[in-house]
Amino acid sequence: MEALIDSSGAAAPRSAAKPDAFELKGVMTSLAVLRLFSLDLMLMERQLRIKIAHLPQFFQDAPVVLDLGGLALGGAEVTFGPLIRLLRECHLVPVAITNASEAGRANAVAEGLGVMPYRATRNATRAAVTVPRGEPAPQAAPGEITRVVRAPSRTAPADDRRTPIRTIAVEDMPTPAPVVAPAPVAPPAAPAPRVARGARPAMVVRQPVRSGQVIYAEQSDLIVLGPVNPGGEVIADGNVHLYGLTRGRVIAGAQGYGEAQIFCQRLEAELVGVAGAFMMAEDIPAKRRGKSARISSVDGACRIEDL
């Protein structure tokens, strides 16, 4: 602000051009999420200090988002004042809440916290069709792409119910467009898009996907360079790109992302599915077999087109 009021009196040349006071940008960044399980502030402070002692630089003045989904009433019972003070004393900067009930959200907003749309993380329910059988895929185990930093486990007591803080997870969460002060009235938390487009790089699988292997690209696109053999299964919450001969099962938009598509160089699949719509091998028209294809979901049914 001071830069605009030039005390020397000399007219700043750019002031004539009425420079913009700000630039509004949407950025993707990583934020620590503090998932609360208890409101026992003393217990929380003790455990928080132990965790911070392990990674002091990491937590110094770090903005944190409070996930209230682990509390019984979704945060309705939280008195935010003391909680915020406690966190500030620990050099954490609470900026927003997420996954809260209506009442919890109102409480938080009244205390100057922002509201973040809640996005399902690795604990979220998977689509019913993706029951991984047998051994998980080795080269790209589900969860590998979810960058969850577990707090040092040695300090965490085994009993979760007595632990107010179970994990401090660093996640790629889309940050709402920044505002100068904590949002006085945040927009109502609209259901976040299930797949944050561009939030995560696509998972790339170079090895052949063999019978019995299941590859799941959580919250991202999946690129498979080799073949998908019969009995193999590739699943993504985003799009699936297949460069080899595809004879196994392919599912895109596994969590219901309707815009997801399958791009395939040579389609011989046992089953294809997009956002809950499925097509078995016998339903795939003969003229599409062995050719390149693009598969999308239209009105709840799979549609196969030329690539």
Binding site: P136, P138, Q207, R210, P227, N229, G231, G232, L245, R247
Partner: protein
């Protein structure tokens, strides 16, 4: 430098034990100190194929359990120098195999100067098969030119890249394909998968093709590995496999139907 080689297939009856016996015999004939271990606990077979069933006193499980010394359990082949067999137990069940014990025995064999340790895997993908592959450096995956066998081989290749010691430390297991019971005549008629069909699906290098032959059955019953009678095509095929396994270039044979000369067509 010892090499642990697993012979696996997933599906039963495709020729794992025959392959283990012949490759072990072939490597030993070439002067490499070799041991073949039967991992099929409860269904002892390898000793029969290698013709030493009457000499089994102690077995692999006895050694794992510390009930016998490795040296006393190992059976030295009377015909081929450098060839040893560690038979499976006929009476125990496969739970007797546990990674620690298996690893200890393999280390001891390495210490005894064995160059090749051939692990004859049981069928299936259960514990016995997983133990056989767990410590492997290389794998010979045996398949018949038939859809279900190839599918199972694919499954086994997936397990080799996931559930083995090497996979756990981020290394790969070099896998070779051995196609057994191959009949070019049937392939020609479209009744059997061709070599290229199988290779396209499995995507691993071809170690060799063993033709369908009565000689395999006869040699099993006699307890003499087929490779020892080098007049048969099976012996020739296995010899090629052994040479290729040792790194020599050998042209693939037995893939195309043999052209019968006019003489053989008249009299053959």
């Amino acid at each position: 430098m010892s090499k642990v080689v697993v012979v696996a297939s997933g599906k039963g009856g495709v020729g794992k034990t025959t392959t283990s016996a012949n490759i072990a015999a072939g490597l030993a004939q070439k002067g490499h100190k070799t041991v073949a271990i039967d991992f099929d606990v409860g269904l002892r077979n390898l000793d029969l194929v290698l013709g030493c069933e009457r000499r089994v006193v102690y077995d692999f499980v006895n050694v794992i359990k510390g009930e016998a010394k490795l040296n006393t359990a190992l059976i030295r082949d009377k015909r081929i120098e450098n060839l040893f067999v560690l038979p499976a137990s006929q009476t125990r069940d496969k739970d007797a195999l546990e990674p620690e014990g298996v690893g200890r025995v393999l280390e001891e064999l390495k210490g005894m100067g064995f160059e090749y340790i051939i692990c004859d895997s049981p069928a299936g993908i259960e514990k016995g098969a997983q133990m056989a592959m767990y410590f492997a450096d290389e794998a010979i995956v045996v398949a018949n030119p038939e859809v279900s066998s190839v599918r199972d081989a694919d499954r086994v290749l997936g397990l080799l890249s996931a559930k083995t010691n090497r996979a756990e430390v981020g290394k790969t297991i070099k896998s070779h394909l051995l196609l057994t019971r191959y009949s070019p005549a049937m392939v020609k008629k479209g009744e059997m998968l061709s070599v290229s069909d199988v290779l396209e699906l499995l995507g691993i290098p071809l170690l060799g093709v063993i033709p369908e032959s009565k000689a395999v059955l006869q040699s099993s019953n006699k307890g003499t590995p087929a490779i020892m009678d080098d007049t048969t095509d099976v012996a020739q095929a296995y010899l090629d496999v052994v040479y290729r396994f040792l790194g020599e270039e050998r042209e693939q044979r037995f893939i195309d139907e043999e052209k019968k000369g006019i003489f053989r067509r008249l009299f053959g």
